[in-house]
Symmetry: C2
Subunit: 380 residues, 2 copies
Amino acid sequence: MKSIHSADFKIGLLGGGQLGRMMLQKAYDYNLFIAVLDPTREAPCHQLANEFIVGNFKDYDTVYNFGLSKDVITIEFEDVNSDALADLEAKGIKVFPQPKALKIIQDKGLQKEFFTKIGVPTSPYFIVKDKVEMAQKATQFPFFQKLRTSGYDGYGVQKINSKADISDAMEGPSMCELAVPMDKELSVIVARNESGEVKNFPVVELEFNPEANMVEYLFSPANISESIEKQAQELARKIIIELDMVGLLAVEFFLSTSGELLVNEIAPRPHNSGHQSIEGNYTSQFDQHIRSILNLPLGDTAATKPSVMVNLLGEKGFEGPAIYEGVNEAMAMKGVNIHLYGKATTKSFRKMGHVTIVAESLQEAKTIAKKVKETIKIKA
Amino acid sequence: MKSIHSADFKIGLLGGGQLGRMMLQKAYDYNLFIAVLDPTREAPCHQLANEFIVGNFKDYDTVYNFGLSKDVITIEFEDVNSDALADLEAKGIKVFPQPKALKIIQDKGLQKEFFTKIGVPTSPYFIVKDKVEMAQKATQFPFFQKLRTSGYDGYGVQKINSKADISDAMEGPSMCELAVPMDKELSVIVARNESGEVKNFPVVELEFNPEANMVEYLFSPANISESIEKQAQELARKIIIELDMVGLLAVEFFLSTSGELLVNEIAPRPHNSGHQSIEGNYTSQFDQHIRSILNLPLGDTAATKPSVMVNLLGEKGFEGPAIYEGVNEAMAMKGVNIHLYGKATTKSFRKMGHVTIVAESLQEAKTIAKKVKETIKIKA
């Protein structure tokens, strides 16, 4: 049998962004060989990958040909050609997450139907093929229109406040989700390996930038009751098991003002809501992803210290080669861990990096996080 | 001014071994550009370096030409051509550690004389140019013969038990050091940046493999009195300041059975006695090395948890392509962090990787470390 700790065993990674980059940084600890496919020559992974192939991961032939020489294929971005992955799987190549699970997750309509089917609580929704159908079906406002496919990081999501807004809605088949009065957003990352071992990380709490609709702060642990903590963990485990998925799955929740826990979205890969685990937990989400797809024992997910993660988003109104202001000042603060993703150019709200602050108490970490946020600015 | 977070700013690293590899893994967090020079095409750094140049770091022209295009030059191995580095420094290129400090450290005779000059306690010694002079000067036994230059990891060191042993001593100028009855070996890693900021890590305790004369276990924190802790930290700080050195310095100590703290050796780079800091401290030694040579604020060095580091040495009697036994079993244990260095071939006692065990108590970490040591075997 080939040793996974040698270049004889080839892992193929679709996507070469920051999630892939952090996965590669960890993968060197296990001496893994990882080839990366990404359309952008200067993608965050291009310097670290053992092999970096420029190509479109949405194209059937490109993905199929890339995958043929690999032992295991995985992703760091879910909007890839899952038909090619299904055919590679049929040829006996291991693909984790499996194409069947991926196809459900890639389509926000199928995702919602899946939650309903397995009895997982989620906010009320309706599915439409276009704006005409939206106008017919909409009875309650406000709601969020989410394009069924290709949305990410706040793109492909629009708030519809009234009947009049529908004419400005996005074109394309959509899932429309009623806006639930919300107390908090939460996330649980769970992993499952081929042997069926399942382990979840503790619940974390997310605070969004309202303008960019992107995570701005993450708090670990979440400030929630034991009962909600337990419910969220159990729902995450239930979803990965019902999906019969191998790999890492991020499960995002809404906690409504009435105390109801609703599943929002899932992502079958390392996720922004797990970045704090690099310094704040016994095992990082990147380590856990690697362990899950290689059928290694899953790592302990307990937090080692309270932590706060701050996303470094490109300053609004700046576009061009990135200039990092205030990084040195932030580095002087205790427990501050800077992660820059190596993207050459910035634009408004682009994810350019993140910072994790580890401290003896969450309050202390929050105080430092606020200072970090005020200190680091990414301009052009 | 060039931004250090871009490929415009080029760092040159002499040596492409595991210390460089772990430095590179961290350097991606700051988006640094690092070119590596190493004679071995398949060195542990070759896949991760932004640029990997195959060449002899002991050769004047090779080092000089490699260095000319760089903004900062550093090392992960001290036996490099320091004359070339001195000439690069004279041209205005930053070289950290500075060639002047490097020349003292490269020669175990000059090192000892330096300790004596600045009043740092060290074990009694005498310097000889050859075996004839050794026979003349040796009055007390046993002592350790250490070749003045080119020794590392137990090579270039020999125990001389009696007058009769001298005929079997190594050829070459040597520093001969009286064997002091020893209680423990300790280490402190200290860093200094160009602005003069100095920070040291807490003291750690080392346990050697007697046969290979290499570190087998490391314990953090060391089990020593507060007074010894303070003395060791102060001596480490004194040495880096007196050397006027910028960079990271590992200071190894003997604690004699009579309770005397003696400086053994120093190394101006990340060191085996700091590996636990990756998971066990707020800032890792690799992070601190990077911070020091780029004149960034030094990071907090406190331990986050007790930890034990186990070196993974090639099993005695095996030589050839490495086979890793027991890695999966070890990965199932809590707090176990595996680091494989990506060396294609193993041989007796070769450093092939290390494992850091982080736990709530040192005792718990020690228990797991023992199991890890029994579980992982690197054979061929």
